[in-house]
């Protein structure tokens, strides 16, 4: 017997839910002992990642480990099944959680934030729901965890408790819950009613059950119901959520929450609709153009933002649209590119947010215009920023190259030359708005008497962002295994 994996995948799946859930309780109970609490948090994150890894071998060998928890109504069950896309999402989220929890300790202590126990506990609950989303076997299970994710991140957005935070959190909640109940749930019920199933099935479940006209309507309901994908005009929650402390913006609003959104988009497009069916729908083209518009206009908005986090938020809106675009192209390569972008963008964007947080902790600066010359004082932070920015832009030797590469290939192969153009144009825009802060930080002289006394942020802030920046580079080499694994979605 090989020493790896240590346990059966079917045992590991429920454990990936139990560990963060129990972790949240443990964190909440140990609020009086900050060191113990924070130590526990890192341990739990590491344990979760190790458990997720246990499932990997089974998936790599083409298996689909599955379990059913409970059956609510006949045919409507809470069930889990791991396929490549979910596997990758879970790996990304759980590995980055370890790094983020280290960073969060440094950030929260460095910035003297209050209510740290509630903060860390909610964080664990959010990870719990991300695992549920990643491994869900059917749309119903996914929906439940999708809602838990919204609810558990609300206290994190409202964390500061001031008027601005409350308003931001309210926008966050109303948009995310409103779209999910008003559109997504309608689509789910209708799917169940028409197709008689909600299971994620290779090739989709719609064909033969739902007419194309109705299917097109359902697609619209799904894509707009998945508010977390931040497709315009339902993207407002994402900039609003930036009132949260930076670790939240980093892990949740660059990785877990938004990626849960586009992950769901990919899941729905490949496993509920199926690419062959999707291609025939009238609204797929429409949504593709909306995604393209969203992609470009969010980039343009990002150019205007002086607040670094706001700029990054609009950049995220734009990057998410790449993935939605990839899903709507209904082409294998584009879908693979979109899936890869989940990974690549996650590492790049989390680095950028970490940097924004480190700058805030070290200097209390939030605006780009105040960051002149800061690179000389914080070389590691700004160096990592540069690498993260390059990764998001998609320059070699960064992993971000591969996702855009596949997206462009997919667009070209399906004859959408306009979309190729859009991706190219947006890359130029990316360069303009992402590199500017780095340029100012390194090349502009510091303003008189301002930057004196600014030093690198605490070690727990700087080390994580260096790790993720190096991760962006490492991913450049990981393209082939990733592609091979994602090919499994389409059965090759």
């Amino acid at each position: 017997m090989s020493p790896f994996p240590f346990m059966e995948a079917t045992v590991a799946i429920p454990l990936t839910l139990v560990i963060p859930a129990l972790g949240a309780v443990l964190i909440a109970l140990n609020g009086r002992h900050p060191n113990l609490r924070d130590g526990l948090m890192v341990a739990i994150a590491a344990l979760l990642f190790a458990t997720v890894l246990q499932i990997l071998p089974a998936v790599l060998s083409g298996g689909r480990p599955a379990i059913t928890l409970i059956e609510l109504l006949p045919g409507l069950s809470m069930a889990f099944e791991v396929e490549p896309l979910g596997m990758i999402f879970a790996l990304v989220a759980s590995s980055l959680w370890i790094i983020t929890s280290l960073y969060a300790i440094g950030y929260m202590r460095g910035a003297n934030e209050s209510k740290q126990t509630r903060f860390h506990a909610c964080f664990a609950v959010a990870l719990f729901s991300v695992m549920g989303i990643a491994f869900a076997e059917n749309m119903f299970t996914l929906f439940i965890f999708y809602e838990v994710l919204t609810l558990s991140t609300y206290p994190l957005v409202a964390h500061k408790g001031n008027r601005e935070a409350q308003q931001g959190a309210r926008t966050y909640l109303v948009l995310l819950l409103g779209t999910s109940i008003g559109f997504q749930l309608v689509a789910i019920v209708a799917t169940w009613w028409l197709a008689g199933s909600l299971s994620f099935t290779e090739g989709g479940i719609m064909e033969g059950h739902v007419s194309h006209a109705l299917g097109g309507l359902l697609l619209l309901l799904y894509i707009y119901g998945i508010g977390k994908a931040a497709l315009m005009p339902f993207h407002r929650w994402l900039p609003a959520a930036m009132v949260a402390p930076t670790p939240v913006s980093a892990l949740l609003h660059a990785v877990a929450v938004v990626k849960a959104g586009v992950f769901t988009v990919l899941k729905v497009s490949t496993y509920i609709f199926g690419q062959d069916y999707l291609r025939e729908l009238w609204s797929a083209d429409l949504l593709m153009y909306i995604a393209a518009f969203s992609l470009l206009s969010a980039s343009l908005v990002a150019l205007q933002k002086d607040n670094l986090k706001a700029r990054l938020a609009y950049s995220t809106v734009s990057q998410l649209s790449y993935i939605t675009l990839g899903a709507m192209l209904a082409h294998e390569l584009a879908a693979i590119g979109g899936s890869m972008h989940i990974v690549m963008h996650a590492f790049g964007k989390i680095t950028l947010f970490f940097c924004a947080g480190a700058i805030y902790v070290a200097s209390k600066k939030t605006n780009i215009s105040e960051m002149d010359g800061i690179g000389r004082r914080m070389p590691f932070t700004m160096g990592a920023y540069l690498l993260g920015a390059l990764a998001v832009i998609g320059v070699p030797p960064m992993g971000g190259l591969w996702s855009k590469w596949h997206l462009v290939l997919g667009a070209a192969d399906s004859g959408q030359l306009l979309m190729v153009l859009v991706i190219m144009l947006s890359t130029l825009l990316n360069i303009a708005y992402l590199l500017r802060p780095a340029v100012r930080a390194f090349l502009m002289p510091p303003k008189e008497g301002e930057s004196r006394g600014i030093r690198e942020a605490p070690l727990l802030c700087v080390v994580p962002l260096c790790i993720t920046a190096l991760g962006c580079m490492a991913l450049f080499l990981a393209a082939d295994p990733l592609r091979a694994m994602l090919g499994g979605i389409f059965g090759n």
Binding site: I70, L72, L73, L76, F140, F143, I144, E147, P155, A158, G161, Q166, A169, R170, L173, V174, L177, G178, I181, G182, L185, V186, V189, A190, W193
Partner: protein, 495 residues
């Protein structure tokens, strides 16, 4: 035991009725009065469970009062429909009584406790009687018993407005039962019988007469007043807001539900699907009213700062959902309505109980009182949130099971916009529940006064119902099975 089994239907009503004067005699010792009333409520729950077993075995349990055969005597008839209603009433009153001791002690003058519990038992007896009887006139009589008892229960509220609220309810309620009586009188004139089964048999022959149609109109409007169908709901918010907490819990969970049952019984069981929906097309009346009744009170609820009143408006909206299910005139729709009868009863009772805990500790149920309550009374507020989620209809709670069936019923009837409407209005519920959550959990308490968590005897019943909301949201077979059988029985041949 054989004798008890035989007379179960009679005991269901008689036990609380006879216990009521007994409790009143104990007026000097509130504690004894409470203990007796509690035991009685548990006994009635046991009886209803025994009845459930018999109904499952025999299908229909018919009981002839005093041995007189139906057209002459009064028949008690328990079938798969009203056993559900009986269970809801008994379950809620059995849970609310342990809650009542402290809550009533803090909200009702001590010299009135004996009368209070006696009135509670009479209200209980009246509601059970409405549900169990198979005789139209008997329904009216029990309606009056239940109503008079609830008027006095509401009037015991602490604030002076309670009397006015009770008076308002009395006016509207009396008009309602009078309409009901007129309708029943018309039916008697036309058919010469008061037994519901006989009525159903003889009515088709005289269906075309104006008298029968007038009877239908009188009965539907009369009952609609009692069940607070929009726009006849004006008595309800005041009555619920000013009544003592325990009374609000009980009435919100049972009183309107029983009236809804009677409406179903008359529409489907007596007048029949053919006359109600195919000839008179009552769905065209009920559906818009139900939808308005969901929409407007939900919006009104969002702007109320007295949370008890806010939940009262929410109750009107929830009645709307139930009526919406009825208006589909299909088995699935009825099933959704019957499910909501049960699910909303436990959900709203849990919410009002949590409010009772808050009133007990904080002395008020306005939004201001609840500022920062999440820190001071975490258990109470958590219960409120969970029950609130069930009210919204979040998956894994009881409320979701209803919404799911209601939406399926709408789709089944080809009514896409209504399915969307049902989900869209859930967002309104989200808005008014979330206001409370925001204030209770995300604001620091205003005053420095130390407030402790509610006492255990209030907290346990609250959590019992809250966990029921979760339990019946996950293990759905019991309510769904009951509702399915009941819906099929009501629809009869029209499946």
């Amino acid at each position: 035991m054989g004798l008890v089994q035989l007379h179960l239907p009679a005991f269901q009503v008689i036990v609380p009725m006879l216990a009521a004067p007994l409790v009143m005699l104990m007026a000097r010792s509130p504690r004894a009065a409470w203990a007796t009333a509690t035991l009685t409520s548990w006994l009635t729950l046991a009886i209803s469970l025994l009845l459930l077993i018999r109904v499952r075995a025999e299908g229909v349990v018919a009981y002839h009062m005093g041995g007189w055969l139906p057209p002459v005597g009064i028949e008690y008839r328990v079938d798969s429909v009203n056993i559900l209603v009986l269970l809801v009433i008994c379950f809620i009153s059995a849970v609310v009584m342990p809650f009542a001791r402290l809550s009533v002690a803090s909200e009702v003058r001590e010299d009135k406790h004996g009368y209070f519990y006696a009135a509670f038992l009479l209200a209980n007896c009246g509601l059970l009687g409405i549900a169990i009887t198979g005789d139209a006139f008997n329904i009216f009589v029990f309606f009056e018993i239940a109503a008079l008892a609830s008027y006095s229960l509401i009037a015991t509220g602490r604030e002076r407005q309670a009397v006015m609220a009770s008076y308002q309810y009395l006016m509207m309620g009396t008009i309602g039962t009078t309409f009901l009586l007129i309708g029943i009188g018309f039916l008697y004139i036309m058919t010469g019988t008061l037994n519901l089964l006989d009525l159903a048999e003889r009515l088709p022959a005289v269906n075309d007469t104006r008298t029968v149609r007038a009877a239908l109109a009188f009965i539907v409007v009369g009952i609609s007043l009692k069940l607070a169908l929009f726009p006849l709901h004006l008595w309800l918010p005041n009555a619920y807001a000013y009544a003592p907490s325990m009374v609000t819990v009980f009435l919100s969970a049972t009183a309107t539900k029983v009236a809804i049952y009677v409406l179903m019984r008359f529409i489907f069981g007596v007048f029949g699907h053919e006359l109600s929906f195919n000839v008179l097309e009552m769905n065209l009346l009920l559906m818009p009213l139900a939808m308005l009744g969901i929409l407007i009170p939900s919006i009104v609820a969002i702007f109320h700062t007295n949370i008890k009143r806010m939940l009262a408006y929410s109750s009107v909206a929830q009645v709307g959902y139930i009526i919406l299910g009825i208006s589909f005139a299909s088995t699935l729709g009825l099933m959704a309505s019957l499910l909501h009868l049960f699910n909303h009863a436990i959900t709203k009772a849990a919410l009002f109980m949590a409010l009772g805990c808050i009133a007990y500790r904080l002395g008020g149920v306005s939004l201001i009182h609840m500022t920062g309550a999440g820190q001071r009374m975490p258990w109470t507020m958590t219960a409120f949130v969970i029950a609130g989620l069930s009210l919204i209809g979040v998956p894994l709670t009881a409320g979701f099971v209803t919404k799911w069936h209601l939406i399926l019923a709408a789709l089944d009837g080809g009514l896409w916009p209504i399915a969307v409407f049902v989900l869209g209005t859930s967002v309104l519920a989200l808005l008014y529940i979330w206001r409370v959550v925001e204030v209770a959990f995300f604001r620091a308490p205003l005053r420095r006064i130390r407030v402790r968590e509610a006492p255990l005897s209030l907290l346990l019943p609250t959590w019992f119902l809250t966990l029921s909301c979760l339990y019946f949201g996950i293990e759905t077979s019991l309510p769904v099975g009951l509702a399915e059988r009941a819906a099929e029985a009501l629809m009869g041949d029209y499946r």
